[in-house]
C-alpha cells in the first residue's frame, strides 16, 4: 500500500476539514464502543480471560520459531504447502508464481490486511491477473480506488449514500436506498466471479500449531466461498498469528469477536485444514499458506514484542479519540489507530512515520480495552524515545526539552525564570487574562487561547506568606 505516513500532519489537516468524512465518523461514532460494552457484560471474568489471552499470546511469541515449525509440519502433513515470505515483495512474488504456474487468470479475495502491506492487488494486476475483492467493504473500496480505513470495517469512512452512488455508477444500475438492497446487488455482481475464479486468497486470523489449521473469523459468507470454491486457495498471513493449540484459540476467540464488533460470536468461524481430502464434498485442490515476516521478527526479543500480541480486533482504534476525529486514512498505511501508530513505524521505518507515535495524548483508552493487554501508550513512548535518541525530532523540540530539563533541575534558576516569565505573560494577558497568540506556541494558539498566568508563582507567594 502507498505509504503517506510521513505526511501525517497534512493528512490530518485535510481530514479535519473534510465535511463528508467528519459526518461519517460522527455517525459511526460509538457504535462499536457501545456494542462492545454491552456484550462484555456477558463475560463475568473478563479480566481473568484477558490475562490468560495475553499469556497465550506471549507464550506463542516467546517460542514463535518452534510453533511455526510445528505448524508447518502439521500443515504439510494435511497436504497444504507452506511458503515463507521474508519481505512484502516476496509475498507478491510467491503469489504470482503460484498463480502463473497454475494458469490462473482470475482471483477472488476475501479480507487480508497483510496483502495490503505488499500492495498485492496492484502487483497481481500488473502481472495480467484480475483480482476481485469480495468482502463487502473491500469491494466498495476497490470500486472507489481507496485503501481501507479500519482493520475490521475497512469502508467505515463511507456513507450509505456514497456507496449507493458508487454502485449505480459502476454497475450501471438504478440507485439503491437501503443496505439490504446494496448487499444484494454486490452479491449478484460477485457470484459469477466466485464460480469462475481459479484462485481464492484469504487472510488468516490465526494459525493453529497443533493441527496445521488456518482459522478465519468473519461475518460475511464470502470467506467460505473464497476458500472452498476456487481450485486453489492461498492464505496470506503474518508469522505472529500462530497459536499453540485449539484450546488456546477457544480462549482468544471469546475476546476477539466481543472486542471487535461486540458480538458474542461472529456468523462464521472457519477452520481450514489442508486441501480437499478423499471423500470430501468440497474444498480446493491446492491449499497454500504464505507466512509473512516483513518486519515482524525484528520486534522479537525487544521491548516492542508485545505489539505482536495483537489479534486485530480494532478495539483500540474504536476507542481512540484521535482516530475518532481523523479517521484511518490519515495514518497513511495499512494499520490505523493506536496499534497502527506502533506497527507502522516498526514495519516501514521510524523516520517514514515519525509523527505517528506522537499522535496520541497517551490517554490510555486503548490499553484499557485491548483484549490482549498490549501497553499501547508505553510502546508509543518507546518509539518516542527512539526518535529522540536518534535525533529524528525537530531540533527546536529537542532543544526545548533539554532546556526545560536543565532549568527544572536547578531550583534557583527555575524560580528566577518562572517568576519573570509569568509576570510578562500575565501583563500580556491584559484585562481578559487571555493570550491570543504566543510565538513558538502557534500549535496551541492557532485554535485556542492560552489563559494567562495569575502573575506570581506559588512558590513566591508561599514564601512571602511564611515570612
Amino acid at each position: 500500500m502507498q505509504l503517506t505516513s510521513f505526511s501525517f500532519k497534512s493528512n490530518v489537516r485535510r481530514k479535519l476539514i473534510d465535511p463528508l468524512l467528519q459526518r461519517n465518523m460522527k455517525r459511526f461514532g460509538g457504535r462499536f464502543v457501545e456494542a462492545r460494552a454491552a456484550v462484555m457484560t456477558e463475560v463475568d471474568n473478563l479480566e481473568t480471560i484477558r490475562v490468560a489471552a495475553a499469556a497465550i499470546r506471549d507464550r506463542s511469541l516467546a517460542n514463535l520459531d518452534s510453533y511455526l515449525l510445528a505448524f508447518e509440519e502439521q500443515a504439510l502433513a494435511r497436504g497444504s504447502r507452506v511458503h515463507w515470505a521474508e519481505t512484502a515483495q516476496d509475498v507478491n512474488r510467491i503469489l504470482i508464481e503460484i498463480a502463473q504456474s497454475n494458469g490462473v487468470k482470475k482471483i477472488v479475495k476475501s479480507k487480508s490486511m497483510v496483502s495490503e502491506e505488499s500492495g498485492l492487488n496492484d502487483a497481481v494486476e500488473a502481472a495480467g491477473i484480475q483480482a476481485i475483492e469480495t468482502d463487502l467493504g473491500e469491494y466498495i473500496l476497490q470500486l472507489a480506488h481507496e485503501p481501507p480505513s479500519h482493520i475490521i470495517a475497512p469502508a467505515i469512512h463511507k456513507s450509505l449514500e456514497e456507496v449507493a452512488a458508487l454502485f449505480s455508477e459502476n454497475h450501471h444500475t438504478p440507485r439503491q436506498t437501503d443496505i439490504p438492497a446494496l448487499c444484494r446487488e454486490a452479491r449478484e455482481q460477485l457470484r459469477p466471479h466466485f464460480l469462475s475464479a481459479e484462485m481464492g486468497i484469504s487472510g488468516g486470523n490465526f494459525l493453529i500449531a497443533e493441527t496445521g489449521s488456518v482459522v478465519i473469523v468473519t461475518n460475511e459468507g464470502n470467506g467460505r466461498m473464497v476458500t472452498t470454491l476456487p481450485r486453489i486457495h492461498v492464505t496470506i498471513t503474518g508469522i505472529e498469528k500462530v497459536l499453540p493449540t485449539l484450546n488456546d484459540f477457544s480462549v482468544i476467540v471469546r475476546l476477539l469477536t466481543r472486542s471487535a464488533t461486540g458480538q458474542s460470536i461472529t456468523n462464521y468461524v472457519s477452520m481450514l485444514t489442508g486441501p480437499r481430502q478423499e471423500g470430501d464434498l468440497d474444498g480446493p485442490e491446492q491449499s497454500h499458506i504464505i507466512l509473512v515476516d516483513s518486519g515482524r521478527s525484528r520486534l522479537l526479543g525487544t521491548e516492542m514484542q508485545k505489539a505482536l500480541r495483537c489479534i486485530r480486533c480494532g478495539a483500540c482504534m474504536n476507542h481512540c479519540p484521535v482516530y475518532q476525529n481523523i479517521g484511518g486514512h490519515a495514518y497513511g498505511w495499512v494499520y490505523p489507530g493506536p496499534i497502527g501508530a506502533i506497527l507502522t513505524p516498526s514495519y516501514v521505518g521510524l523516520k517514514n512515520a515519525l509523527d505517528l507515535p506522537q499522535a496520541s495524548t497517551l490517554c490510555g483508552a486503548c490499553q484499557v480495552v485491548c483484549p490482549v493487554k498490549i501497553p499501547l501508550p508505553e510502546l508509543m513512548r518507546v518509539l518516542r524515545e527512539k526518535s529522540f535518541e536518534q535525533g529524528l525530532r525537530p531540533w527546536h523540540e529537542r532543544l526545548s526539552i533539554r532546556l526545560w530539563r536543565g532549568v527544572a533541575n536547578r531550583p534557583h534558576l527555575y524560580a528566577l525564570m518562572t517568576q519573570m516569565g509569568v509576570r510578562v505573560l500575565s501583563l500580556l494577558g491584559g484585562k481578559k487574562k487571555l493570550l491570543h497568540h504566543l510565538p513558538g506556541l502557534d500549535g496551541w494558539t492557532d485554535g485556542r487561547d492560552m489563559p494567562a498566568p495569575q502573575g506570581k508563582t506559588f512558590r513566591e507567594l508561599y514564601r512571602k506568606r511564611r515570612s
Binding site: K9, V12, R13, L16, P321, V322, N325, D355, Q358, A359, S360, T361, L362, C363, G364, A365, V368, R381, R384, E385, K386, S387, F388, E389, R393, E397, I401, R402, W404, R405, V407, A408, N409, P411, Y414, T418, G421, V422, K432, L434, L441, D442, G443, W444, D446, G447, R448, D449, M450, P451, P453, Q454, K456, T457, F458, R459, E460, L461, Y462, R465
Partner: protein, 245 residues
C-alpha cells in the same frame, strides 16, 4: 501526619490559587503540610516526548525533596500518575534507588484520592453556587482510579450540583506536548469536550488537572464563551475564601 505538597510546575506558574486551595484542604483535614522549596516539575513533558533522562533527573530531585514525608500530595492526577507508574522503572540497574522510589511512589497521592482514601474526609465546610460538570482527566482516571473521589467530595460542598456530561471520561485533547505538536487534533478534541460540557448547561466545568483545564478553557474562550467558569476541583472544595490569593 507530615504531608509534602507537590504543587506541580503548571500550578506553580499558572494558578497558584490551586496550590493554596490544596494547602487549605490538607490543613483543614488536620495534616501538617510542608512545601519543599526546591521542587519544580515531575519530568513528564520530557519523559513523554521521549527523553528518559528528563524522567530520571526529576525522579532524583523528587526523592531528595520528598523522601522524608509520610505522604506526598499533588493536585494533579497526571503528575501523580507519572510518579506512581513510571519513576520505579527509570533505574533498572539500581535496585536500591528503585526500591526507595517505589516506596515513595506508594505514599504519593492525587489530592481527591488522598482526601477520600487516606484521610476519609466526610465533611467540608465549603459552598459553591451553581451547577458543575466534571471532566475525568485521563491519567487520574486510568492510572489511579480517580473517579468517585472528587464526586464524593463535591457532594459535601453546599450548593454544588453535579450535572454529568455524556462522556466525562473522553480525553479533552491536552496530552501535554501533544497539545502543541498536534494542535489541530487537540483543538478538535477540546471542541468536542466543550460541546459535551456546555450541553449540560453547567455554570462550571471542573476537573483535577490544570493542563486539561487550560486546554478546555482556552478553547471555550476562543469560541467566545466568557461566562462558563473552568475550575480546579481543589478550588471548589476549598471554597471561595482563599486568603491572600
Amino acid at each position: 501526619m507530615r504531608v509534602g505538597l507537590f504543587v506541580t510546575c503548571l500550578v506553580d506558574m499558572m494558578r497558584p490559587r490551586i496550590g493554596f486551595a490544596t494547602l487549605k484542604l490538607l490543613e483543614n483535614a488536620g495534616c501538617e503540610v510542608a512545601v519543599p522549596p526546591n521542587q519544580t516539575c515531575c519530568g513528564q513533558p520530557g519523559f513523554n516526548s521521549g527523553d528518559r533522562e528528563s524522567g530520571r533527573v526529576m525522579a532524583r530531585r523528587f526523592l531528595a525533596d520528598f523522601e522524608s514525608f509520610d505522604y506526598v500530595v499533588a493536585p494533579s492526577g497526571s503528575c501523580t500518575g507519572m510518579i506512581r507508574s513510571h519513576y520505579g522503572e527509570l533505574f533498572p540497574d539500581d535496585t536500591a534507588l528503585q526500591h526507595r522510589l517505589n516506596a515513595l511512589s506508594q505514599r504519593t497521592f492525587e489530592l481527591t484520592d488522598f482526601l477520600v482514601t487516606v484521610l476519609k474526609v466526610e465533611r467540608l465546610d465549603s459552598s459553591f453556587q451553581g451547577t458543575i460538570t466534571y471532566h475525568d482527566s485521563c491519567s487520574g482516571l486510568r492510572e489511579l482510579n480517580v473517579k468517585h473521589q472528587p464526586r464524593q467530595l463535591m457532594e459535601q460542598v453546599t450548593g454544588a450540583q453535579l450535572h454529568e456530561m455524556s462522556k466525562p471520561e473522553l480525553c479533552c485533547g491536552f496530552g501535554g506536548t501533544f497539545s502543541i505538536k498536534l494542535g489541530e487534533i487537540a483543538t478538535r478534541m477540546a471542541d468536542n469536550k466543550c460541546q459535551d460540557a456546555l450541553a449540560t448547561k453547567a455554570d462550571a466545568i471542573v476537573g483535577g488537572d490544570l493542563g486539561c483545564l487550560l486546554n478546555i478553557e482556552g478553547r471555550l474562550r476562543r469560541l467566545g464563551d466568557d461566562t462558563t467558569q473552568v475550575l480546579h476541583v481543589a478550588e471548589v472544595l476549598a471554597g471561595p475564601e482563599l486568603g491572600q490569593v
